[in-house]
């Protein structure tokens, strides 16, 4: 069981300073300008990072890594549950059966395999009820992608109230299996639930859930780690193809794809993916330019979870595979819209009662000072400094943009001298600036 600690969020993204070459790729990719290069190494500001993983994608030397739990943790538990997302299955080549992948996971040490999308049916019910009960909190933004929730907390604090305060299908799945096993008389301490994650944000959300309470998930294993293990097994031996008793529908496994969530709801819904698109859309929601009485589904990865930073497979190929599998599962439904819930109403109600998020706190990173007078002075200072800086956003100072450096200088975290063009040691810089960037025209 994990508990949130510390002042800020837990972050799964880490920088290995032995490998980092201080190249500045990551500072440019970060959507919250959370990274600076200092003394030749990238440093991530804990209060600003939303665990989207964009820095991980662009690091040329793999100095940025995503810290997973030790796989050996599994052995601590008698019952070891793999919580598998549909995108895991879609990483493997055509012809590899779901049942073979399950069999490999069991050989690796898991006692139960449970696909997290089993929680989708309950999730849809919960979300519909939430929307009925919270009319005043329109437009509704889904809490599915933890990086989106964190992005809203730090950059769009006024929209925190619009987030649907419910956990994700992953939690429904985890709570369901925990309750079922404990109902069967198994001691909770003997059960370990391990989520196979396609991204850093999900890890961070498990380690320090927004609501600051205990998560029902014991550990998180990176998708690429298990993918490699399973691939090695598939290459070596004949894996049995046992038929699985499917109880998932196409609708369920499509949930983590773009549009897979919003397609289940009525009203004016939107499906937004890709971090830049998400930021742009949030700006528009904030300006009340977007009218929505349905769900606004947002995921920071392009192609949603199929584009997760840890996925070995190409995102478009993975989407295609999930869709094909969805068609196959639907063909087994014989015209029914979904499989009927196999649990009693009482049981479902118990799971539902554990799904709400009490509070998501705004944590603005834009705020300069508590004192408005002082903040005003700082804004003026930033603007003045910006006017002096070359505006080339070259990143050589270690900050992503000249604006960011101006803010750092004003916050006394950097000096004007950090700009190589303004540094007294650079005697031909003014000339270079003029020749390449036409510096004199900058403020026109």
């Amino acid at each position: 069981m994990q508990k949130a600690t510390g002042k800020y969020f837990y972050h799964a993204l880490k920088v290995d300073h032995d490998i980092c070459i201080g190249c500045t790729h990551c500072i440019k990719a970060c959507p919250t300008e959370a990274i600076r290069v200092k003394n030749g190494k990238a440093v991530i500001a804990a209060n600003k990072c939303v665990d989207c993983g964009e820095c991980f994608r662009v690091c040329p030397v793999r100095a940025i890594y995503i810290k997973q739990d030790d796989f050996a943790e599994l052995s601590k538990y008698k019952y070891r549950i793999a919580l598998v997302p549909a995108v895991f299955i879609s990483q493997f080549a055509e012809g590899i059966r779901t049942s073979q992948i399950y069999a490999c996971l069991k050989k690796l040490g898991f006692t139960h395999i449970y696909e997290v999308e089993h929680g989708v049916g309950v999730m849809i019910e919960l979300m519909n009820n939430y929307m009925l009960d919270n009319e005043a909190k329109k437009p509704f933004i889904s809490a599915f992608c933890p990086a989106v929730v964190r992005l809203i907390q730090v950059r769009f604090p006024s929209l925190v109230k619009n987030i649907i305060h419910l956990k994700a299908p992953l939690d429904v799945a985890s709570i369901t299996i925990l309750e079922r096993l404990t109902d069967a008389g198994i001691n909770k301490e003997e059960i370990g639930t391990f989520y196979i994650t396609p991204c850093a944000a999900k890890i961070a959300a498990v380690k320090s859930p927004v609501e600051n309470i205990t998560s029902s998930i014991s550990g998180v294993i990176n998708i690429d780690f298990l993918y490699n293990k399973v691939q090695q097994m598939l290459a070596k031996e004949n894996t049995p193809i046992d038929p699985i008793n499917h109880s998932l529908s196409g609708r369920d496994i499509m949930w983590s794809l773009s549009g897979g969530e919003s397609q289940n709801f009525s009203g004016n819904c939107f499906a937004v993916d890709g971090i830049r698109n998400v930021i742009n859309f949030l700006e528009r929601i904030e300006n009340e330019e977007i009218e929505s009485d349905g769900i606004i589904e947002m995921r920071v990865c392009d192609q949603s979870c199929a584009g997760g930073v840890l996925n070995p497979n190409n995102r478009f190929v993975a989407v295609n595979k999930v869709k094909k599998r969805a068609d196959y599962l639907d063909s087994k439904l014989d015209g029914r819209s979904c499989f009927l819930p196999t649990f009693s109403q009482d049981f479902n109600n118990r799971v539902k009662s554990l799904m709400s998020i009490e509070e998501i706190k705004p944590r603005s990173i834009l705020k300069l000072d508590d004192n408005l007078q002082k903040a005003l002075k700082m804004v003026e200072n930033i603007n003045k400094t910006k006017a002096i800086l070359p505006g080339t956003d070259c990143g050589a100072c270690g900050a992503p943009t000249c604006s960011a450096l101006a803010e750092d200088i004003t916050r006394e975290n950097a000096k004007l001298e950090d700009c190589i063009f303004l540094s007294s040691e650079c005697d031909r810089c003014a000339e270079t600036l003029e020749r390449i960037w036409n510096y004199k025209n900058k403020n026109k």
Binding site: S158, E286, N287, E288, L366, K367, L372, L376, V379
Partner: protein, 137 residues
């Protein structure tokens, strides 16, 4: 502190840059979210008015500890009957502008409902000056 922006008549796709810049600054100042919202909405509407009706103009925004003052000045056809323009649903926007989803006749009424002090002066065939004040406390 002061911010100023140019507005280009007819450039609908570029509209909104002034209000986003002001929004960013107000967030840095940690101004209350509901205050930011009404300021941004009024500024955006005012910007769109200039884009939709005038040849061009400018926005000047002064932010102080107790209030935000904005002055939007344009060169354009001016408003012949200001009291009519203040009525909800009254619009002189061309059918082209309406096709684009603007010109519903809600601009000025919407601005007025979001500001604390509102002043509008207009000379036909010259232009319009709109002044708005938002008290922060």
């Amino acid at each position: 502190m002061e911010l100023s922006f140019k507005i280009e008549g007819g450039n609908f796709s570029g509209a909104g840059s002034a209000s986003s810049e002001v929004k960013r600054t107000l967030k840095q100042l940690d101004v209350d979210a509901s205050q930011i919202k009404r300021i941004v909405i009024a500024l955006y509407e005012a910007e769109i008015n200039v884009v939709a009706h005038a040849f061009g103009g400018k926005i000047e925004v002064k932010i102080s500890a107790d209030k935000v003052f904005a002055r939007i000045q344009d060169q354009g056809p001016g408003i012949a009957d200001i009291s009519k323009a203040m009525q909800e649903g009254y619009s002189t926007a061309s059918s082209k502008v309406r096709e684009m989803g603007f010109g519903a006749g809600m601009g000025l009424p919407n601005i007025k409902s979001n500001v604390d002090v509102f002043d509008i002066q207009s000379v036909v065939n010259e232009g319009t000056v709109l002044e708005m004040t938002f008290y922060l406390s």
